[in-house]
């Protein structure tokens, strides 16, 4: 089998995963897309390992060994990721990534040393209330 087939397949898989990560809203689907990308890489590793060992330039099969590592780490990662998503869902009632914007920096959630007119007005309103 020519090297081009698995390479093209892996590129397609990776692009699908990338699209999922960038466009999906549900955190679980984003995680699944990440898995797709990882597996595209795995496919690449195995295919190139076979190709290199056939030309006898590489005999240690380090590509396959690395694939096993990646699978193990991906399993651990997905476990932790799903646990986090579960915890977020229990807290917020949603796992929609677009709504999880707590780290946003903007005029509304400004730090203490930025004195926007909006915050001081809000503070005054609080003080008078």
């Amino acid at each position: 089998m020519h090297l081009a087939y698995p390479a093209v397949l892996s590129a397609l898989l990776f692009c699908t995963g990338l699209y999922g990560v960038l466009a999906r809203r549900n955190a679980i689907l984003v995680l699944m897309s990440v898995e797709l990308m990882l597996n595209a890489v795995n496919l690449n590793l195995v295919a190139f390992d076979v190709w290199l060992s056939r030309t006898a330039r590489e005999t240690l099969h380090s590509g396959q060994a690395l694939t096993l590592f990646t699978i193990a780490i991906a399993a651990a990662e997905i476990g932790i990721g799903l646990a986090i998503v579960l915890a977020v869902y229990r807290n917020r009632g949603t796992s929609d990534i677009d709504k999880l914007r707590d780290t946003a920096e903007g005029p509304e959630t400004a730090g203490p040393d930025t004195e926007g007119p909006g915050t001081s007005a809000a503070e005054k309103a609080e003080a008078t209330a």
């Binding site: 984003v30 677009d98 914007r101 780290t103 946003a104 920096e105 903007g106």
Partner: protein, 664 residues
Amino acid sequence: MTTTTLAVLVPLLPFLGAAAGLLLGRTAPGFVRPLAVLPPLASLVLAALVAVRQGGDAAVDARTELTPTGSVPIELALHIDGFAALVAVLVAFVAACVQIYSTGYLRDDPRYPSYAALVSLFTSAMLLVVYSGDLMVLLVGWEVMGICSYFLVGHYWETPEARAASLKAFLVTKLGDVPFLIGLFALAADAGSFRLTRVLGAVASGAVDHPTPIALLLLAGVAGKSAQFPLHTWLPDAMAGPTPVSALIHAATMVAAGVYFIARLLPLFQASRAAMVVLAVMAAVTMAGSALAALAQDDIKRVLAYSTVGQLGYMTGALAVGDRGAAVFHLLTHGAFKALLFLAAGVIIHAAGTNSLAAMSRMRGLRDRIPDAYWTMTVALLALAAIPPFSGFFSKESVLGAAEHVTAGHTEHAPGAAGWIVLAAGLLTALLTAAYATRLWLLAFRGRGAEAPDHGRQPLTMTVVLWVLAVPSLALGGLAYRSLPGWFDGRDLTPTLLTSILGTGLAVVGGLLTYGAWQRTTALAARTPLGAVAAHPEGDAGLVEAEAIATHQPAYGDIAHAPDPADPGRLLLGPLHRTAAAGFHLDAVYTALFVRPVQAGASLVRFLDREVVDTYVRAAAALPRLLGAAVRRTQTGNVQTYVSALLAGTVVLAVAVLLVATGA
């Protein structure tokens, strides 16, 4: 024990007492009074023993070097000659009296433990100055006295007067101490040692190349410490401190240190005729000016303060004519009667509830309330006015006699001009001294008007000390003038006939003039009621005095004088009265010359810092702040946006790497 061991213990005991007093003051209040009184008493006994063993013979010298200190060695050295031995006895005697008196005077004061410890430290520092044979060690005692005077003058720190006075005392004396330090370094550089004996040896052999600048630099420090014109202004203001502290500062420590220092280094000053003439002019201006100012003061303690300045002028005058025996003789008698004057004034202020002479002159029968203070104060005032046979007469006549001796011109050690200056100023001051002493006595004890308030009996500790001090005030001069030359340089201290008649005659004239003026003005007293007395007459004397000091300005409009037409000083001084009351406006001159320029410079620096330097700082901060605000806008919180940016960056990098790798 050897004489050296005894001499080391003399300054050490009050120091240990002070340390123990400061440590135990809060935890064991019962020990505070013994710890305050016993070390000075023990020091007195030991100092007397040292004096007896030394006996005016060859000086006792001992030294040890703790550690090598570079080019000019600094050694712990003792140099006890007749001067040191006798002055130490006086210091310990007055300090012991003051400590005993303070137990009564400040008996209810919450800050008494620290006060007593500081008085002990003060005494120890002065004894160190007296015994030290090394100029650097002497300087240590000199500076410790400066800081102690700061704390003690500011004892009533609740009153703004005391706070201002303590700062002023510290700053003005430090103003003199800076040239003093430079002078000491210059002297050591010329003489190659800080040891007193070596320095004097170098002076005698002519090894000191620049005696005039060194002597003038040292003179600045002496003028600051000994309150000589033009650095005397701190002393009258220091009256805002408690009376026993005034007695200690004026009689034995601090102001005596300057005179004593010149007496020790007199050969150096004599090596420069210019320094001697400057010293004489300084003494003359100080004497005459302070006596005029004393005649116009209303606060009883300020009168005494100016009289101290004047009597110190006599001592520096004696030094200017090269007779240190007469100077130290006057230092000894003055120490006795000035301590007595201040301590008696403390009793008077307590009994009268005011420190204003104008208020006292409107009280009848003050002398019957405090007979001890009345009689001892009379003795001390007669000694101050130099009426024979009181002790002040003999010492003052020895000063005038020395000046008269120099005017004859056949002396090597002092210029004749200095003799004339000192003699003329001394005689004028004798007249004025008698005048203000009489004024003080008449206004304080011969008042007419309402009955003096009854504030109960004075504590025994206070009255006994007065009588103890009255003995040397009465008899020290007459008993000692024959034997003292053996302790000093051997020059005769017997009063000469001419100056005795002149001096005493002028003193009598001054007293009679004041009495005449008082008889004319006293009738006016009834017509202009004046006076404010302390709010808590039942309190201890310290509280009464603090209240009296605090009320003087609001009650009479000025801290120094009162608008009292019945004051004989007003009649005697005429148009000069206002200026004299304000100390010849020297403070205003200092304000214009030094305080205003410094304040203007400070505001200029403030402007440069606030408006110029800070602008750059703020501008430097503004640009990063703007950038930060711009960058913060991209922080939306949406993870997918971040990943998109990451991807875009990766693509850009990959394209760049490809372009570079293919060499396009």
